[in-house]
């Protein structure tokens, strides 16, 4: 597995001016794409060939020693893998796909990357320029299909554009609030030879400001509010991870002494065990953070966007609080929650400015209220979830055993549904970039391919993909990718023989009318074995610890299926249309 043992190198320092311009040479558009990838420090590409992207694949044959291409089993798998890669490595993921169906198969992943701000650059092949608009074989209007789900997209019909367009693509995908970029290249442009004059990384686009200007006035005002606050509360999201501002954030939290709760995508930005980390926000978040959102006097939101799954009913959300909102995207300010003080900017820059101006404080009384509510939640929910005395296995106890064995050092990739909520509630994280999940879009089928990419992005870390029996069946073809490339991911299927989250809602809000949620599954062990992946399946509590240990100790990929309680529910829960303080413990 030589491709897994190399550590990713830092992207080359952007010193375009210092670099002497190489002598022009003749190059095809396809080779120019690959040169651009090398210049951008790309090492791994997830892709699938096809007619309209064949010239690029032909050129790739000569770059095999420098660019590692992972052949997935479906283009959706490629883009989810690129997302997983981006999320663990903190770099831009890359995808190749062909025109028509190849490109349309990317759409779900683009939408996912768009809403979760994941930097991805996708290259799609397109029919010859003279065939555009003729309903040619495998022609689709990819640019218009993907416009709402890309940060930027562009169609190249002339090879001479390729170096500058790709430089723009990588710059846009990775800067500011990151996002997916799609570049559609017609076949003639891939084949066209042109005078290649080298590659210059993009550092400026006239119409694009990745970061808003930091305003001192707002920093002062925010600091003033924080210093005067009696019950301040920090809620933080992925902005901290994307901004690589974990240290700055920690310094801010520790100096201010303010309790901090994470959104599902903010998970792992602060160690779970940090004394000021009070848990998760949102629909299935922790009791204290939800209830006390409606009791704090100053709410400090850092790099998060007040998703409806976090806020619950908006007109009853934190109405008593003055809101300080730190975000790099000006469009997020006042979008859902009106900010008293908007702190526009990159939190890596704004947090230290704020930290310098706030007083060192502790809030023991206020913290005790979080602790008391945690105790209530522990007694009502957590205790039985993590250590059930009898009955079927719970997802929580699986997580509990997993935490004990990994020590909180693993990358946890989840799919979507009950297992996702349980994993995010109970997984322990010691370091950042460790929680990979589809937060905004809630894409079932995300987990398995994302785990493949996550492993390539963090080859030295243990990657555990926790997936439900439903979501696993949406993208299980990627077992083929794991087999072919020996990708060392641990697949943990939590099988409750139901589409559990929908079933839970049907139980609670639709009079137990279980409409099409009783999904059956194949024998996952046999399935894994067909792909030459070691596997086992357990139902008994007594086997759990050893089974998890076997999975983690195994060299290479491993699939463990754990049968859990059929009709277990995830609690606490903020029912839809309710305020966060109306969170139910049962």
């Amino acid at each position: 597995m030589s491709h897994l043992t190399t550590t990713p190198s830092k992207p080359k320092a952007a010193k375009a001016a210092a670099k002497p311009k190489p002598a022009p040479r003749e190059l095809s558009g396809s080779a120019a794409v690959l040169e651009a990838f090398l210049e951008e420090g790309v090492e791994t590409i997830f892709g699938y060939p096809g007619g309209a992207i064949m010239p690029i694949y032909d050129a790739l044959y000569d770059y095999r020693d420098r660019l590692n291409h992972i052949l997935v089993r479906h283009e959706q798998g490629a883009i989810h893998a690129a997302q997983g890669y981006a999320r663990t490595s903190g770099r831009t993921g890359t995808v190749f796909a062909t025109s028509g169906p190849g490109a349309t198969n990317l759409v779900t992943g683009l939408a996912d990357a768009m809403i979760d701000s994941t930097p991805v650059v996708c290259i799609t092949g397109q029919v010859f320029a003279h065939l555009l608009g003729t309903d040619a074989f495998q022609e689709t209007d990819v640019i218009n299909i993907t416009t709402p789900v890309t940060k930027w997209n562009y169609q190249v019909t002339d090879a001479t554009e390729i170096p500058s367009v790709l430089a723009k693509a990588f710059y846009i995908a990775g800067s500011g609030r990151p996002g997916p970029v799609l570049i559609d290249i017609t076949k003639n442009a891939q084949l066209q030879k042109f005078n290649y004059e080298g590659y210059t990384r993009c550092q400026h686009i006239r119409s694009y400001r990745p970061k808003p200007i930091v305003r001192k006035e707002y920093i002062d005002k925010a600091a003033e509010l924080i210093n005067e606050a009696e019950r301040p509360f920090i809620i933080f999201g992925q902005g901290i991870i994307l901004g690589k501002a974990e240290n700055e954030f920690r310094a801010f939290v520790e100096k201010s002494g303010i309790p901090a709760a994470w959104t599902i995508l903010g998970l792992s930005a602060l160690p779970t065990s940090h004394p000021l980390n009070v848990g998760m926000l949102g629909m299935h978040g922790n009791y204290g953070p939800n209830v006390l959102t409606n009791d704090c006097d100053v709410l400090i939101a850092v790099g998060m966007r007040f998703d409806d799954r976090v806020t619950g009913r908006l007109d009853k959300y934190a109405k008593q609080a003055k809101v300080i909102h730190l975000d790099i995207d000006p469009a997020e300010i006042d979008k859902n929650v009106k900010a008293t003080v908007p702190v526009w900017g990159d939190c890596k820059e704004t947090l230290p400015l704020l930290t310098a101006k706030i007083q060192k404080k502790t809030h023991p009384q206020w913290l005790k209220r979080f602790a008391d509510l945690y105790q209530q939640e522990f007694d009502a929910v957590i205790k039985d979830e993590l250590n059930p005395a009898s009955g079927e296995l719970t997802m929580g106890e699986v997580m509990n055993e997993l935490n004990a064995l990994t020590g909180g050092n693993a990358v946890i990739v989840t799919d979507v549904g009950q297992h996702q909520m349980v994993a995010c509630r109970y997984a322990i994280f010691n370091q950042s970039n460790s929680n990979i999940t589809s937060g905004g879009l809630g894409t079932m089928g995300f987990g398995l391919p994302a785990a493949i990419g996550a492993k390539f992005g963090a080859p030295d870390r243990t990657v555990v993909a926790i997936i439900g029996d439903g979501g696993f069946q949406m993208t299980l073809q990627e077992l083929g990718t794991i087999m072919q490339f020996d990708v060392d991911v641990k697949i943990l299927i939590l099988n409750n023989r139901f589409l559990g989250m929908v079933r839970q809602w049907q139980q609670l809000f639709h009079d137990k009318r279980y409409s099409f949620v009783d999904i059956t599954s194949p024998d996952f062990v046999k399935l894994a074995n067909a792909y030459y992946i070691q596997s086992s399946s357990i139902t008994d509590r007594a086997e759990l610890k050893q089974a998890l240990k076997t999975m983690l100790d195994h060299k290479g990929s491993y699939l463990l299926e754990v049968f859990t309680g059929k009709e277990n529910n995830v609690f606490p829960m903020v029912p839809q249309g309710c305020s966060v303080s109306e969170i139910r413990l049962k």
Binding site: T147, P148, H204, R209, K216, P330, D334, K335, P342, E349
Partner: protein
Amino acid sequence: MTTNKEEYTITVYTENQIGLINRIAILFSRRKINIESLNTSPTEVEGIHRFTIVINETEEVVRKLCRQLEKQVDILKAYFNTNEEIIWQEMALYKVSTDEIAEKVKVERLLREYGARAVVIRKDYTVFETTGQREETDRLIAVLEPLGLIEFVRSARIAIIKDSSGFHEKLKEFELAAPGEELVENEYLDKQDQVFSM
């Protein structure tokens, strides 16, 4: 903040890029907002285009929409204004039968009273043109309709913002503000709208 719907004119400064109109249009259609009028035009700055879009919405919706517009990579700036804050005009063309019009109306009175201009006069038909606001162009329809108005078309709205000093200065300001520069002082919380935010 007013919650009443009102007519707003949105002025969007953009790069000249294929497909940008789609990127702009879907921001409206995604929110189920009907575009009443849309015009594209060059500006006083070479290479920069200007979209003039009219919608009926509340101030809050328009404000958020403009932020979403500005978020697009190829868009430099989006302003929104009420009708009081702009000078605006539309143009209309009216095709009528020359016989009808010559027989029944004093054409010179028509031209004077309605500020109309005859663009084409042929034996079979005449085309008039007026420029003005909606009620002005509508008034001439009312007059011509009984005379057998054959064809009518009205252009999109074009508008000039009263207190704008042009985009040249803004662009310079924008270019100067390179990413990662030092703090800006003397901007006040209560003037958020006026702050050139990109």
